[in-house]
Symmetry: C3
Subunit: 355 residues, 3 copies
Amino acid sequence: MTLLATPAGKFFDDFIIGETLQHGVPRTITEADSILYIALTGSRFSLHCAQTVASAAGFNKMPIDNFLLFHIAFGKTVNDVSLNAVANLGYAEVVFTRPVFAQDTIAVTSEVIGLKENSNGKTGVVYVKSTATNQRNQPVLSFKRWVMVHKAKGAAVTGINQLPELAAAVAIEQQHKPEQLDIQGWQPWFSDNQRTARDFNVGDTMFHRDGITINDSDHSMATRMYQNNARVHFDQHMMNDSKHGKRLVYGGHIISLCRALSYNGFGNALWLTAIHGGSHCNPSFVGDTIYAQSTITDIDLTLQDQGLAKVRINLLGIKNNQPSNMDSLYTETAGRKSYHSDVVLDIDYSVLMPL
Amino acid sequence: MTLLATPAGKFFDDFIIGETLQHGVPRTITEADSILYIALTGSRFSLHCAQTVASAAGFNKMPIDNFLLFHIAFGKTVNDVSLNAVANLGYAEVVFTRPVFAQDTIAVTSEVIGLKENSNGKTGVVYVKSTATNQRNQPVLSFKRWVMVHKAKGAAVTGINQLPELAAAVAIEQQHKPEQLDIQGWQPWFSDNQRTARDFNVGDTMFHRDGITINDSDHSMATRMYQNNARVHFDQHMMNDSKHGKRLVYGGHIISLCRALSYNGFGNALWLTAIHGGSHCNPSFVGDTIYAQSTITDIDLTLQDQGLAKVRINLLGIKNNQPSNMDSLYTETAGRKSYHSDVVLDIDYSVLMPL
Amino acid sequence: MTLLATPAGKFFDDFIIGETLQHGVPRTITEADSILYIALTGSRFSLHCAQTVASAAGFNKMPIDNFLLFHIAFGKTVNDVSLNAVANLGYAEVVFTRPVFAQDTIAVTSEVIGLKENSNGKTGVVYVKSTATNQRNQPVLSFKRWVMVHKAKGAAVTGINQLPELAAAVAIEQQHKPEQLDIQGWQPWFSDNQRTARDFNVGDTMFHRDGITINDSDHSMATRMYQNNARVHFDQHMMNDSKHGKRLVYGGHIISLCRALSYNGFGNALWLTAIHGGSHCNPSFVGDTIYAQSTITDIDLTLQDQGLAKVRINLLGIKNNQPSNMDSLYTETAGRKSYHSDVVLDIDYSVLMPL
């Protein structure tokens, strides 16, 4: 009997600037993914719920929810990028290039675009740009993310410090309207006669009222559906010895819950074009009840003649608490936010919304 | 920053007799809904499990289970009708007009057919007739239901008292056989060689033996799949302060569990034609084990020449107990049933069953 | 009111050697089953995840995972074979004859091939050979299994003792390569550039590192998806009085978890051809974290010219523990294994693996 080493993921020292990683296990996204996503998150954005709505909006088939697409694409990168991550530090420049439909197959590559060794000599930050393509090799999504990764035991200290360019936001002109999308046939009742872009102003803030409590199987199934194999989400035996003694809920599940909750008020936030950045401010665990609050931070009228606005939204996730009971969700000092311990998510994204 | 009010649903005073509400978020029902329904409820009614069975029974495609259809249609009405409900009081005249197949899209409207203010001046009962149509605008399902809804704070007392007609049962001639259904090719082994209509008599009662324990994610996922957004099912943080301190399991999930359990004995109860009425006698919570008992209350032979009977069944759901350990499931005084505290469901429905 | 007896399954005395049981509720397997299987088990074997991968491997459509097929076929037999089982004792000669694709419908029959009354006069062992066929009546899977079943109360002691032939292993020539499968187009990145057959030697052992904690709904949903209606998995109220006081996790779910975990290291174990035998050494419960270890026990080169090896693998499942903390997983005396109390699974199977 020979004991073979188990594939254990890359350490900081294994990454090379400019290298492209072709991630394994491409994935055909199916209508079952869409239904399971609804069942796991409670999403009700109608473009992804009804063929009649999709048709009225110019699509031949219901498009896949871009948040679902993001989680599947992100999941593909975990095995090569973040299996030995200490922490997922952030993402930026998440751009949705092209809609994806049931039966499309997604493959994902990541280019290493930055490396910064930490002064402790034990960890470093890896920056990658990941690109998801469909079966016709057309890009459908790209994003940058950075993670703090362990150095291998005994690896030499190199002091490497090559930082990539990271835009503070996805430019308006990079926020793509799907070519099929034609909002002329859109009916207000599709989304419960909710506010459209002309009913919002920059600075408008809404607490979305509903809460959703996280169950064990909810987040586990979602994370497995995304084929994200980070151990912290699944292995309670290992996590018994961790700081919180509990499995961590995948941050992407929190994003999807908050987004689903935001339907109540922002139901016309139809089409995700970009995620500018996001922080998982505090961890979430089974049993936490998640609430959400949105603030409009920009309304762009470039597509006005097509009846659409590009609306930028700051979405905050809160656990077991409500803004009305909290002095503030965060304080800001020199551009740096310090969050209330009940805030679990701060995400900055843009959508197309009917005017 | 401007705080916007969150859509909070209609209060009693917002409803107008004769008004029709077009509910948001139409829904394409898919084969994934059918599979998830099986996974969540344990249903084994073979017409909805196998294309070969559906074909033998005259269908080109497997029809969607009418209970699944009902829950999806019901879910659509929650946002406009019962978001501020104190209690779902009942339903009647649930009629399945036409079969639904995977890829059909359901939209639902509700007409306000009755309003009765309660003497306390704080609540009232709203009666609606809801109709679900497919993408060809053909009605597939209609039902009446009534809910007790809060009056808005400070709303004037009107003393309105307009009650609708509610039939005690769906008439035999309104119990539709799908035109495709042809039972000649039906094989007894499809449904485990169980009793057919000729083996039953009015008054026959069967306890279905199997039990099913409710897990957190089971009922949450089912309720989200139906896009029923009533807060009591999802928000534990809010429910901590409620009478039971726990999230309530959606009553429709209990119906589906009892129906699924009834397969063991009533496996030939093929096609749901009508629900005459139903009560959720007591609440169910996570951890409860549900059992079921059925009694035949009518066997109609109008379709005898087609090899079918219209069989009326009274299905009772019981939690954490069995009839043999209970003096009685209910007592009846002047037509009013008083239930044992372990009885959670009393539903009166009709099916087509091979003779 | 007449109380009818509930169908209660067969007792030992009800089985007749040579008799063929046609199991109820045939099942159309859909792409939703595949996605739900991924969500419930975390499986990442890429042939079942991406149409592009399936096409590159010669298939027109993604084939259904043979483990998923096995569980569905097994589930069909429970109602007639093992509803009154004391224990599932084993299975052998599990042969996958033909690939199954989404939309195929599976029906299952079982022939009674052996009966052995136990000396206690209260139970007996029933041996069956089950065969699953598709809608063209082509066999897709066959297997033998044996279960200890209660005798009916008061049934006569017969001393019957007719044992079937049970092969110790499925012969190499009975391990079928699907005719479509052509590995020439296989890309190493499909399966994360993992070891292929030429990188393995008989005796190689790998602990797969990842662990997966079982949640209530995970195993319940999987078992219901397979329409396996054995009561011990679902009825907590009944199980309160059992030895462990808890619902038992369906052993097949443990097989699938271990198989999914084995992707990390054995990701090229592409196509299940046979299960030679298996034991559920100890029960698993909700909250247990499952780990897996594989050992290569044979590498057959019969299909070398097609770029494939037939690799035999011994897969062990462990709960809440790791081999490095255990003196041994089992000890063997006279061909009989005695397992560590944390070992929950010992399964012996063969796959096709690229060379």
